[in-house]
Symmetry: C2
Subunit: 83 residues, 2 copies
């Protein structure tokens, strides 16, 4: 079965996010003033071929831990749905 | 009221994604072979102060169009929830 994983990789709460700070400033310069904190991370969409949803989950989790996310500075979460 | 917007900005379907290609190759090199197509984009989490969910939606949409997404090469989608 084919699954699509939607992965979000964000800087951890404790980590400063200068890119987010810059975007917040940019939005305020455009007079979009109601925006508060901005955090910027990555969104990754993966196609996974797996027997079951559990197997797909394990694959995506392994991919995140081994390559996609730097767990020292980032945290990840994902959702899975059938393609 | 305070809302959190979770925005995904992805390269459009027609656009090649060399970063995604590189990640796919990297995953295969780690023997995570069941992964097919990989697309990489940005995930942005915004805090928005607004009267109503509709007002927050309008603000986030404006922010995406004016600064966050390059609509020539990227497409965006977002969800809103109360903080």
């Amino acid at each position: 079965m084919k699954y699509i994983a939607e992965i979000n990789i964000m800087p951890q709460k404790e980590i400063l996010d200068p890119q987010g700070k810059a975007v917040k400033l940019g939005l305020h310069n455009l007079h979009i003033d109601s925006v508060g904190d901005v955090r910027i991370g990555k969104h990754i969409r993966l196609e996974v071929e797996a027997e079951s949803e559990d197997a797909a989950k394990t694959t995506v989790d392994t991919a995140c831990r081994q390559l996609l996310a730097n767990l020292i500075m980032e945290e990840y979460s994902f959702t899975l749905h059938e393609a």
